[in-house]
């Protein structure tokens, strides 16, 4: 756990993905997540996987980095796969007690696993290659039309960014607290339910206390700098679409279109 990069972390760089407009990346990410969800045949899976490989290449993100991001989800992914594989009725392959591994289950489990992995990967790519400031700018710009309906867009965007910004910080802090409590003999992941619960409390209480302290400090710091949300805020760097944004959007649309066509016309 120690010494890896946490989910939601931004890694500075100058790759193609880093230089894309944040709005483009948000749209592409949403489009590709949708494509992952709607893909329903091997050709579709292959196409989306290919796009993911291409995106990793364009963002200069290595396999190991992506895997270290996905590691926290490993248990959930595995569990969902096993449950699907064993609990789906169909042609039996392997019987384990009252449960049976079925062909349909294996296919369904595999599909779900593939989808979750791709969704997490595309999401990770977005936060890996977009700084929190640019991500807010993008969100704010996308949500701007909602301001007419009375939605406080700027505040919402700031809130989302702050939440994203603090995911890695809190994970890091949690790891540090876990290690500190290990120094006092706390045992994690072993022992009976009471021991486990007590160990968990010994991490959660300091973690929350720290989060509140941090939130308070941040609020004070923002107020001292006279932060005001709202329509009149200007940015140091205005967002501007470039040719590469058009290319990225076109590619995403093409992939999404292909997946939709396969699903509904063939």
């Amino acid at each position: 756990m120690a010494g890896s990069i946490n989910f939601g972390q931004f890694v500075p760089g100058t790759s193609f993905l880093h230089r894309l407009d944040p709005r483009t990346k948000i749209f592409c990410c949403a489009g590709l997540v949708l494509a992952s969800l709607l893909a329903d045949r091997p050709a579709g899976f292959a196409l989306v996987s290919l796009v993911l490989l291409l995106a990793l290449r364009l963002g200069q993100v290595g396999w190991r980095l992506l895997l270290s991001f996905l590691r926290p989800f490993a248990l959930i992914l595995l569990l969902s796969f096993v449950l699907q594989a064993f609990l789906t009725p169909g042609e039996k392959w392997l019987a384990v007690g009252p449960l049976a591994l079925t062909r349909e289950g294996l296919y369904l489990g595999g599909t779900v696993l593939w989808r979750l992995l791709h969704i997490a990967a595309f999401g990770s790519l977005l936060t890996l290659t977009t700084s929190p400031v640019r991500l807010t700018a993008g969100l704010e710009s996308i949500l701007k039309p909602l301001a007419r309906l009375g939605v406080p867009v700027c505040d919402v965007a700031t809130m989302i960014t702050l939440a994203l910004r603090f995911v890695p910080t809190l994970l890091e802090e949690a790891q540090e607290i876990v290690r500190a409590q290990q120094c006092r003999g706390a045992v994690f992941g072993r022992g009976g339910p009471v021991t486990r619960l007590r160990s968990l409390v010994s991490v959660l209480v300091p973690l929350f206390a720290g989060a509140f302290r941090r939130a308070e400090d941040l609020a004070t710091a923002m107020e001292i700098r006279c932060y005001r949300g709202g329509a009149n805020r200007t940015r140091m760097r205005e967002l501007r679409y470039a040719a590469r944004d058009g290319a990225a959007l076109a590619c995403t649309l093409a992939v999404l279109g292909a997946i939709l066509c396969w699903r509904w016309w063939y």
Binding site: A2, G3, S4, I5, Q9, V11, P12, G13, G62, R64, L65, S68, E176, I177, R179, A180, Q181, Q182, C183, R184, G185, A186, V187, V201, S202, V203, L204, V205, P206, A209, G210
Partner: protein
């Protein structure tokens, strides 16, 4: 007791954020000695501390405690009882409702019986200069900063680790609390034979307490030796972001002015004696 050999540690290896936090660090420390680990911010002091009780494992090189390698799985699980590590700002890890339960946490994890725990908690609180009767039932969050730090120290002392590693235990404390904690550490080392490793960037503390000083700079050991030896090299210390203790600085300054002052002084008393010597010698000429 503690042997560190060619220890190198990478944070986030294989990623764009990889950092070499420790680079070929070597030192050894005999049982019952007092070592000061000094260095500026970001020099790798805290990372090194976490290697000493097996929280982090070397990327290369090795760390031995009491002759056993911290890589040994079975040993590592027991290591926290031998090497007590007091974290930086340890009071941030508090979570129990009372001081008693907070200090007792480690012993509870060992499965000790309640009577023994009560005895040890009272001893540990007294050792850090708190009155058990007054603080046992208070919430640790209701205490002042200095008292919280003492409670945190008590929660490590309570299980009597033979080696104490303390990461800036006096950061942010008032002078009286600082004095008390440092005095206590020296007493534990001299009277109870604990091995103490104190992480600090205050060289006055090193001068007063240490048998051995290791100075880190950007993950490397840039100086090590007895305090007197280390303070002979002000240039290297400055390079590491540290400065000499006042008495020693004074002597180096006098030397720059052309006086034959001896620079191997650690305390104000020694500085006074040296000045006296210079004065009488000056009169003879």
């Amino acid at each position: 007791m503690i042997l560190v050999e060619d220890l190198t540690y990478w944070y986030a290896p294989g990623t764009p954020l990889a950092v070499k936090a420790l680079d070929g660090v070597s030192f050894s420390l005999a049982e019952g000695k007092f070592m000061v680990l000094a260095g500026g911010t970001g020099s790798g002091k805290t990372t090194l501390a976490q290697h000493l009780n097996g929280l982090l494992l070397p990327s290369s090189g090795r760390v031995q405690v009491g002759g056993r390698d911290t890589r040994e799985e079975a040993f590592r699980r027991q290591l926290w009882r031998t090497v007590g590590l007091l974290w930086q700002y340890p009071e941030r890890q508090f979570f129990e409702e009372t001081v008693y339960r907070e200090v007792a946490f480690a012993l509870r994890n060992l499965g000790a019986d309640e009577e023994y725990i009560r005895e040890r908690v009272a001893w540990a609180l007294r050792a850090v200069g708190l009155n058990p009767a007054e603080v046992l039932d208070l919430s640790p969050f209701a205490l002042s900063g200095g008292m919280r730090r003492r409670v945190a120290l008590a929660s490590v002392l309570v299980y009597r680790p033979r080696v104490l590693v303390l990461d800036e235990p006096t950061a942010g404390l008032d002078p009286a609390s600082r004095e008390h904690i440092l005095g206590l550490l020296k007493k534990l080392q001299e009277e109870e034979g604990h091995t103490v490793i104190l992480i600090t960037h205050r060289m006055e503390e090193a001068a007063r307490l240490a048998d051995w000083v290791v100075v880190l700079s950007r993950g490397r050991v840039c100086l090590q030796g007895t305090p007197r030896e280390v303070f002979q090299n002000p240039a290297a210390l400055k390079e590491a972001g540290l400065h000499l203790p006042f008495p020693c600085r004074l002597m180096h300054r006098l030397r720059e002015e052309g006086l034959a002052a001896g620079t191997a002084v650690l305390t104000l008393e020694e500085a006074e004696a040296e000045l006296e010597r210079l004065r009488t010698r000056g009169r003879q000429h």
